[in-house]
């Protein structure tokens, strides 16, 4: 198990290095300049600025410089927001996104799993069809339309919730619902489909023959066996949701990570783009490693399969 995880960790680090190079080159290919946004600067100030931030050096030495700084955990200063450090910006915008994403997940995971189990429990009844349709609607209606819809009817028309901004708990409810609907629909679908497959297994027939009630079979016997596909979906999903959904943040005026990312790209704020991208990818890779570790712990068969068939897992 340790060997498998070590291998995955090695690949994760490799991915991160390649990714950092790609992003580094990509952001410098974009035409435009962090210092020439609104008004043109005098020639000598412009060159002095570029020199101060090391942008006049050749690209490979800029990269080496950046990585050296990164190793001592320095992400560098923002080129556009004066006296703000990239780490500082991430430090105060990530908690906002994480809170929003956390609420969305706290809503999506129980609702999704419940709907999925419910549809499997009544797999020949209207409950299954209803969940099926609900899930398709949840997957189809884009989050930006759902967000606007909720904002218009519940906040503007009925005035049940604040329209936008960030601060109090009631302001987090609508964005969390808009953000959580899609994952909830996916989780419901995956749970339902896997559960219905699992209920065809022999040991379930045995449990039924023993006279166990169906809900107990699902809850105590089958649920454990569908945890792995669920985990491998929920893991990356959490990373996506926690780092912020730009469009929801835009609709509700929330100062999260997504907002800063889009700003940094349109401002060509190179260190900020790099910082947020690397932060996001590190989070994603860490979570997917954690999911792999958890899956291996839950199901020892996986470790055996990985040993027998290297490269596939």
């Amino acid at each position: 198990m340790i060997a498998i995880l070590a291998r995955k960790l090695f690949y994760a680090c490799l991915s991160l290095i390649v990714l950092s190079m790609l992003t580094f080159v990509l952001v410098r290919i974009i035409p435009g300049d962090p210092f020439q946004q609104e008004q043109a600067l005098p020639e000598e100030i412009y060159h002095a600025l570029r020199h101060t931030y090391g942008l006049d050096a050749p690209i490979h030495s800029q990269y080496i410089n950046y990585i050296t700084n990164l190793c001592s955990l320095r992400l560098g200063p923002s080129l556009v927001y004066h006296k703000q450090d990239v780490a500082e910006i991430i430090g105060h915008s990530f908690p906002t996104s994480a809170l929003l994403g956390g609420e969305a997940l706290a809503l999506a995971i129980p609702v999704g799993i419940f709907l999925g189990l419910w549809s499997a429990f009544y797999q020949h009844g209207w409950q299954n069809s209803l969940t099926h349709i609900l899930a398709i609607i949840g997957i189809s209606v884009p989050s930006f339309i759902l967000g606007t819809l909720l904002q218009y009817f519940l906040a503007v028309k009925l005035q049940l919730f604040p329209i936008a901004c960030w601060g109090s708990f009631s302001q987090t409810i609508l964005p969390a619902i808009s953000l959580g609907a899609l994952p909830a629909a996916f989780i419901a679908r995956i749970t339902g489909a896997n559960m219905i497959e699992e209920l065809k297994q022999g040991y379930i027939t045995t449990a039924r023959a023993k006279g166990l009630p169906e809900y107990r079979i699902i809850w105590r016997h089958a649920l454990k066996n569908i945890l792995i596909p669920l985990l491998s979906y929920i893991g990356p999903l959490s990373a996506h949701t926690l780092t912020g959904a730009f469009i929801i943040e835009k609709i509700y005026g929330i100062p999260g990570l997504g907002y800063w990312f889009v700003n940094s790209v349109s401002n060509r704020d190179y260190p900020l783009i790099m910082g947020i991208t690397l932060f996001y990818c590190t989070l994603l890779l860490t979570i997917s490693l954690a999911v792999d570790a958890l899956s291996l712990m839950i199901d020892p068969r996986l470790a055996k399969a990985a040993k027998n068939n290297r490269g596939v897992v």
Binding site: L26, V27, I30, I137, S140, I247, V262
Partner: protein
């Protein structure tokens, strides 16, 4: 009726047509496509004519879906936008299909180190923030329809590649592949004549689901103001333009929003129905 001599597609059609919702969605999309083709020709309004004396009118017998802030008829703009959205969706899905199927197919059949390298490449690319790639492309190539399609193709083929690879890994172990190899069939012949035809079900389902995801991404980008430029309208740009007027002229937002949602819903229902039908046919084949 279904009989043992029915072909694969006849059996799929047999199961698919019993799914009323999917059939209804199919008809809905056909109607949408017909309207998208005909309305911009037949209507007395055009999608770009500005007439400020009739701006922001609510839906009426003259203007079925009302008019926007420049007095343009929303009904015509919706069907003109449908052309853009469907074109983007289908074009991007076709490009994804070609790149993704080839990439996943080659990786799966070659196996070993090449497979490892190719799939790592997919993993790394799919971890790049999509917004960064899109904005880079838009700034580099200029905004417009072709850039959107290129951006969607660059970002969209990973899913197809992963699914094709997963599917081919399952079937490449079977005897007929071994037999073909023993008879001297080369790499490409095995890939195109033996493996792809046997993976056509999952490929088709993924394709049906790629179209709505491309339409969604186009709408999303246009909603952010990164999409096609005025006076061309896509559903996303129309929703984006209607957003600030949400409170006073709500139809300007809700009409395009409804069409985006309905179209995505219809494609998903069809994809889902197709998936169910294919599952039933393969299970029927395995048990009989």
């Amino acid at each position: 009726m279904i009989s043992p001599s029915s072909t694969f597609w006849q059996k799929i059609w047999f199961y698919f047509k019993s799914n009323r919702l999917a059939i209804f969605s199919g008809w809905l999309l056909i109607v949408f496509i017909m309207l998208a083709i005909t309305v911009p020709f037949l209507s007395s309004y055009s999608y770009y004519d500005v007439n400020l004396s009739i701006k922001n009118q609510p839906p009426s017998p003259n203007h079925w879906f009302g008019t926007d802030d420049l007095g343009r008829d929303i009904f015509v703009r919706i069907w003109y936008g449908a052309r853009i959205s469907f074109f983007v969706g289908i074009a991007a899905a076709c490009i994804d299909l070609v790149i993704g199927a080839l990439w996943g197919g080659i990786a799966a059949l070659a196996g070993g180190k090449l497979d490892e390298i190719m799939m790592r490449f997919v993993d790394i690319l799919s971890a790049l923030p999509s917004l960064l790639i899109t904005i880079t492309l838009i700034v580099a190539l200029g905004s417009g329809l072709h850039t959107i399609i290129i951006a969607l193709s660059v970002l969209g083929w990973f899913t197809m590649a992963r699914i094709v690879r997963g599917q081919l890994l399952k079937i490449k172990q079977q005897e007929y592949v071994l037999a073909a190899r023993a008879l001297g069939a080369n790499f490409w012949r095995i890939l195109f004549r033996h493996l792809f035809p046997n993976a056509v079900g999952p490929i088709l389902v993924t394709l049906t689901l790629t179209i709505p995801s491309a339409i969604f991404t186009e709408a999303f980008l246009s909603y952010l103001g990164l999409g096609v430029q005025a006076p061309i309208a896509s559903w996303g740009t129309m929703a984006n333009e209607g957003l600030p007027a949400m409170e006073y002229y709500p139809w300007r937002l809700w009409v395009p929003a409804t069409f985006i949602s309905l179209t995505l819903l219809a494609f998903h229902i069809i994809g889902d129905g197709l998936n169910d039908a294919i599952t039933q046919v393969t299970e029927y084949r395995e048990t009989s």
